[in-house]
């Protein structure tokens, strides 16, 4: 049976997550350690800033699930109260569903983000390296990756940006095509400006100019991005060159007026200009948005895009849940079939043993036959045995998919005396 134990950003506060995360980091061979727990045959642990989870294959009816929980409590030095509130444990299909939802980023803080799949893959790689996975977990993880891929390609869950700076980068892409070679003018040198610089520089913006009332602050930010710093009095000139302008000053009046933009357009030969105003109160005169070839977005416009994208993601999540359900059913069917496999193997071995012994007993008269006839007799016997076994084997496989397989497996073991 597959089980999952852990905590995440929804169930545990940051300090509890930190403690458990630190505990996991200290253990260099955690998957191997997990295998030492009684009843655990395969194990994997996933540890990110938002979650710590253990996925394991355990023997049915064993106390492994509560042992795994205790293990996490010890690892994170959690109090009884914390453990009660924060830890969750899932078994069987619920555990599988939880893992698939995590891999598909349906359980993430920012639904649809791509990072989690990489983290799940890393966790699997670590368990593989320590030989802590087997048939069940290997297939489970591959199914989880497949589910995540299907969710990304078949739904629009990751299609649109859900942060203001990503939304700005996407808009810039829609206006300019590529950001490579484009020039960015940042007005203000605060935290918001820095964040915007990081984002746009990462997307290929070539030259960054920082304009700020305080020259040392402007110089510091400009140096960080290998750009140049100018004073606010040089804004007119800086506007001539820029393709993208981000403004986030604390100025009570407009820093960029309609006249300034209209004047610079002539000098810049009508090149497209994207103005992003993330300041409150606004830095850029809203009338600038009405000028030909100028595109003005303020913080509310960008937030509006983000809000709508979040709504879209929630709508897409319904489709994604259907894909997860489908994949959970497929995997659970396979796992149930797997439960019948040892019995099917024992049944075949027993039959082969009987055939072998009976053929040996009949060695005297079989020896009198020539080679060709002897092979025919062996083929006949094997054929009869296979035909007899075909019914029970198929029934066990089919029945184990439909329901839990213990009953029919137990019946087969008793009927064929496989445990003797």
């Amino acid at each position: 049976m597959i089980v999952l134990v852990g905590l995440n950003h929804k169930t545990a506060p940051l300090d509890v997550r930190e403690r458990l995360f630190a505990g996991c980091q200290e253990m260099t061979h955690l998957p191997g350690e997990l295998l030492k727990i009684d009843g655990v045959s395969e194990a994997l642990y996933l540890s990110t800033c938002n979650r710590v989870e253990i996925v394991a294959k355990v023997e049915e009816g064993s106390p492994a699930l509560s042992s795994l929980k205790d293990y996490l409590v010890r690892l994170g030095a959690l109090s009884g109260d914390d453990a009660e509130k924060c830890l969750y444990a899932r078994e069987g299909e619920e555990a599988i569903r939880h893992l698939f939802r995590v891999a598909a980023s349906l359980d993430s803080l920012v639904m649809g983000e791509a990072q989690i799949l990489g983290q799940v893959k890393d966790a699997y790689r670590q368990s593989l390296a320590e030989n802590a996975t087997g048939v069940a977990l290997n297939r489970l993880m591959h199914r989880a990756f497949r589910t995540a891929k299907r969710v990304r390609t078949e739904t629009g869950i990751a299609a649109n940006p859900v942060s203001v700076s990503f939304a700005a980068v996407e808009l810039a892409g829609k206006i300019f095509g590529t950001l490579a070679g484009k020039k960015l003018l940042v007005i203000g040198a605060g935290e918001m400006a820095q964040l915007a610089c990081t984002h746009l520089a990462g997307n290929g913006v070539e030259q960054i100019t920082v304009a700020n009332r305080s020259a040392p602050q402007a110089a510091a930010l400009a140096e960080q991005f290998h750009g140049r710093a100018v004073g606010l009095d040089a804004l007119d000139e800086a506007l001539d060159d820029a393709d993208i302008v981000i403004s986030s000053t604390g100025s009570p009046s407009y820093v960029i007026t309609q006249q300034m933009v209209a004047r610079c357009l002539r000098r810049r030969k009508n090149r497209l200009l994207f103005l992003i105003d993330i300041a409150v109160p606004r830095d850029i005169d809203p009338a600038c948005g009405g000028i030909e070839n100028v595109f003005l977005y303020n913080i509310d416009d960008l937030q509006g895009i983000v809000d709508e994208n979040i709504k879209n993601r929630k709508r897409e999540a319904i489709k994604a849940e259907a894909i997860v359900t489908q994949e959970v059913v497929n995997y659970a069917d396979w796992l149930r079939q797997l439960e019948a496999v040892p019995t099917i193997v024992s049944l075949r071995r027993k039959a082969e043993g009987i055939v072998g012994r009976e053929m040996e007993k009949a060695g005297n008269w079989l020896g009198a036959l020539d080679g060709g006839d002897r092979e025919k007799v062996e083929a006949l016997v094997n054929g009869i045995v296979n035909k007899i076994l075909h019914g029970p084997v198929t029934a066990m496989k089919e029945e184990s998919v439909e329901t839990r397989s213990q009953d029919i497996v137990a019946a087969a073991r008793q009927l064929f005396k496989l445990d003797d």
């Binding site: 649109n160 829609k174 300019f176 095509g177 009508n270 090149r271 497209l272």
Partner: protein, 274 residues
């Protein structure tokens, strides 16, 4: 025309028809993936057309009947080539919605013509006429491309300015790419049309003598040339760009498209074989 040629022409035609259907579907379903697949199908059509033209070139006798199938096939090939060339640089697949139907029409016309029929009256056939036709029509095709990019620019501009999220905005190419295509279309269209007008003039001066100057088609072509020349001048010298350039290209194209039809069907012209 040999059997092999026909086979490749039909394959090119089929692929182009599929690509047109795909591009239209991509607009209705608002899925870029469908447009991407259509571009690959159009690339296959371009491949078949290339083979068709190579086979025709090897079988040189076919080219004596210039102005028939080969001319139209060549024209379709050049248009597809220019469009696919743009895809390597700009990823503006949705532009195929405008370009692919044009290629399809050319191929249908090419396939529908009797193999031996020449479009140009036999007494006017010659190298200069061929050059004049190829250059003029290629120039006009590039103006079509420039205007199509202009139309898409206006749509995308409106969507971005309205600040509403629209799937269509995602499907349309970026404003920068569309402006670039508009410029390249105008510039090369103007160069080719100028060369076409010059070759036509040289031919007409020697063969048609004075009668051609008042030919409606000539007057119309000259007007197209002047109008696009004006646009190009404004762009290069004054720095017009973006919305104004897109709107004017569309407007001029629409005016000339309407007058071209009127000239072709209402007025007698020495060019009425086209």
């Amino acid at each position: 025309m040999s059997g092999t040629e026909t086979v490749f022409l039909v394959q090119a035609l089929t692929c182009t028809a599929l690509a047109v259907a795909g591009y239209l579907l991509s607009i209705f379903a608002k899925r870029v993936l469908v447009a991407k697949i259509s571009t690959w199908i159009l690339t296959a059509a371009f491949g078949f057309l290339t083979v068709n033209l190579v086979v025709a070139a090897v079988n040189w006798a076919g080219w004596d009947q210039f102005g028939s199938r080969h001319f139209l096939a060549f024209y379709a090939w050049a248009t597809a080539g220019i469009y696919l060339g743009f895809q390597l640089k700009t990823k503006t697949r949705v532009l195929g919605v405008f370009v692919a139907p044009l290629i399809l029409l050319l191929l249908i016309a090419a396939a529908g013509l009797a193999p031996n029929r020449s479009l140009v009256p036999p007494e006017w056939k010659g190298g200069l006429t061929t050059l004049h036709l190829v250059l003029s029509i290629a120039g006009e095709a590039l103006f079509v491309l420039a205007s199509a990019a202009g139309a898409m620019f206006l749509m995308q501009n409106r969507l971005i300015k309205s600040k509403k999220r629209a799937k269509m905005s995602k499907l349309l190419p970026s404003l920068g790419d569309l402006d670039k295509i508009n410029f390249i279309g105008l510039m090369w269209g103007f160069v080719l049309l100028t060369a076409g007008v010059v070759t036509g003039t040289v031919y007409a001066v020697f063969v048609w003598e004075g009668a051609w100057l008042s030919d409606p088609r000539v007057v119309w072509s000259f007007a197209v040339w002047v109008a696009y020349g004006f646009l190009l001048h404004q762009r290069l010298a004054i720095g017009w760009g973006g919305v104004r350039m897109a709107a004017l290209s569309v407007l001029i194209f629409m005016l000339f498209a309407v007058s071209a039809v009127a000239v072709r069907f209402c007025l007698p012209s020495m060019h009425s074989f086209i």
